[in-house]
Structure formats: C-alpha cells, structure tokens
Symmetry: C2
Subunit: 204 residues, 2 copies
Amino acid sequence: MNDKFFNLPLEKQQRIINAAYKVFSQSSYKKAPMSEIADESGISKALLFHYFTNKKELYLYLWVNAIEMTRKAVREYKTLETNDFFEMLKRSLLSKCSLMRDYPHMYAFSLRAYYETASEIKSAIQENFSDVSKTSEMIVFEKMDTSRLRKDIDLKTMYDEIFYAIDGYMLKKYRSNRIIPDEIELEIISLIDFWKKVYIQKGA
Amino acid sequence: MNDKFFNLPLEKQQRIINAAYKVFSQSSYKKAPMSEIADESGISKALLFHYFTNKKELYLYLWVNAIEMTRKAVREYKTLETNDFFEMLKRSLLSKCSLMRDYPHMYAFSLRAYYETASEIKSAIQENFSDVSKTSEMIVFEKMDTSRLRKDIDLKTMYDEIFYAIDGYMLKKYRSNRIIPDEIELEIISLIDFWKKVYIQKGA
DNA sequence: CTCCTTATTAACCGTATCGGTTAATACAGA
DNA sequence: TCTGTATTAACCGATACGGTTAATAAGGAG
C-alpha cells in the first residue's frame, strides 16, 4: 500500500476505510466492488487504487487494522483488569461501542471476515483470529469470580447464551440499519443490568 | 411461473428451491445470480428460466412459499395452543427445526428478505410480513401464563433477550455453515431448559 | 505569475458475468 | 418411427468488474 495514505487528513482516511468496512461487511469479498467503496467514500476509484495496490491488499489492511484497534480498545478499557464477570462484560462492550463511534461497520466486517471463504483471503485471515477470541474466552474463565453467581446454572451455557444474545442484538441493528452508538450503548447497559439481576445469586 | 414445475418429482422441486433459498440468503437480491442457483441445483440456467419467468418471480415465489410453510408448521405444532411460555417457545422452535430439515436455508432467506432494499422487491415483501412477526408477538403476550415466572424481572426484556439469543445462535450456525437440524434441535432444547431453570420462579 | 510537485480523476481496457433467449438435442411413450 | 416434451449448449447485448493511463487540478515556492 501507498504510505501517502497516512498523510491524508484523518477524517478522510476514516471516510475511506469506513466505506470499505461497510461495503465488505455487506457483501462477500468476491462480490464487494471497489467502485462501490470509492463512491461511498466520495473519492474516485483511481485514487482508491492509488492508495491501495489492489482489492486484496485493502481487505487485509482492514483486517489487521480491525484486530489491532480492537486489542487497543480492550486494553484502554481495562477489560481484563477485573474479575467481576459482568464488569468485564460491560467494559468489553463499552470498548466496542467506542470503536463503533469511529468505525460503525467494523464489528460487522470482522464477523464476516472470519468466515470469509475466498481462497485468496482465507488463509491470511484465520490464523491471527482464533487466538483472539478463543484465548480471551479462556482468560475470562480463568479470572472470573464465580462466587456471587447462582450455583444452579451452567456457567458455560450462560456465557454462550449471553454472547449469542449480543450477536443477535447487533445483527438486528445492522439489518435494520440502525447503528447509533449512543442508543446501542444504553440498550447494552440495560441488557447487562438485566443479566445481573438474573444471574447473580439472591442475597449475595 | 410455469405450472409444469409442480409436475417435477418433489425431490427435484426441493433441490431447486433450496438452491434458490441458499443463494438468495447469502447475497442480496441484486448480487445473487440465477446461474449460481442453476448450478447449485444441478440443472441448466435455461431450464430454471423455463420454470420461472425471471429472477423477480422466483424470488417472490420463494417469499410467499416461506411465509405459507412457516404458518403451516406453526399450526401443525400447535404452537399457540398452550399458554405456557416455554412450551410455546419449544413448539415454535421445533416447528422451525422440522422446516429446516426440508429447507435448510429458508430461515436465513426470510431474515434477509425482510430487510431487502432492492426497489423491485421491497414493496411486495414487507406488507405480508410485519403482521406475521408482530401479531404473533402480541398473541404470545396475551396468552402467556406468567404466574410461574420470576416476578422481579421484566418480561418484555426476557422475551427480547431470548429471541436475540436464538438469532445469534442461528447466525453462528449459518456463518460456520453447520446446518444440522438434529444437532440444532438438541442444542435449542437444552437452551430452552436453561431458560426455564433461569426464569421460572423457585418453588413454583 | 511561473514552475514544479503532488493530489485527483475521467476515460479507457480487456475480461467476466449478468439476465434472459433461441434453436437444437435428448428422451419418453405410442 | 413418429411425436410431443424435457433439457441444454450456445448465444446475445448490456453491464460491471479490477486495474491502468494519461491528463487535469491544486497547491506551494520562487
């Protein structure tokens, strides 16, 4: 890629990669056209190809960028510096909301990219990701303080169910094209409060 | 459309419309090619166009068909003939699993079709659907026996959260390409058992 | 204003794919 | 062998694709 991209005003950089996140999150790699990304970001296709040598390079840049920014946000929100499960959950989701403010379609992009089947892309993708999600799950389970949680329910199921719900919630938001970080943040917080009420042992 | 389609052996009919459900569930209407549907169902494109006059007609046929079959399955499983919420949920999901055995990609298709933006399609779609999902939610709330449920939690949130989780669960299945009805049925049942344990008032 | 560098794009290229058609073939049964 | 039907290969014009090129616009230095 062309390093001059980084000399662009930050707002323009963001406009371009956001357009790319959007287009790549709505279609598969193969069916997502560069021209649509150019149109969406308000620049010419030629300029887009001036900054990114080809489609594959742009896509992989987006991928690496997404992982990096996610890691950074998780760190900034001190997500793993607590052992209260719901606090951890909250920090994790708030960090995602903050990312969403700058990059509304990054979350959907990541989800889709992980399952991307295009051969040119597939290999480069999956290696660096399985550790991110899998090991973070491990860390959570190791650090988690379970003493205040109900004893009669299976924690793994609870954990899975909560993440299913978050994915389902976000899916609905994306499908209906309502990506409003403030609204999402509020609703997520109220969902977490709901889960706390449900899963924390009475009297604990 | 050509009525001769219905003279085809049922297995072949199903192969064709399943291929169509699959392709239309993976790409938007505009980007889903008829040739892919033909290939996927093992017939020539020309024959596909012989049975369905054009792409739009096929799509709308799939849509009407999906609604009709869903309604039928809900009826067959006597979904609304109980007022136990979890029983209702179970019947509703088991009916979907049974549909999934014949039409694995219908669920994903319906979800996507509802939010389809292509102008040629949009108008024809949304009218007949909002009643299906909205009023069924109404019916559930009207019929629902809440006496055994925990009094300290908000029922609407519980309802929403459960359906988010189911959507999130199914999303994962589709993304990872694991549509195995028997497996899904088992996992769904165990999720429902989990919810029962969580939401039913102790001692009720 | 002139010159030079850099940012930006319109126009283009060859190829692939699209929705849809046509004319010919394979196949069945009488 | 004839006849009607099921099926497809080959084709059509249009469009969209990834990527390039050559020219223009913009900006800053002298």
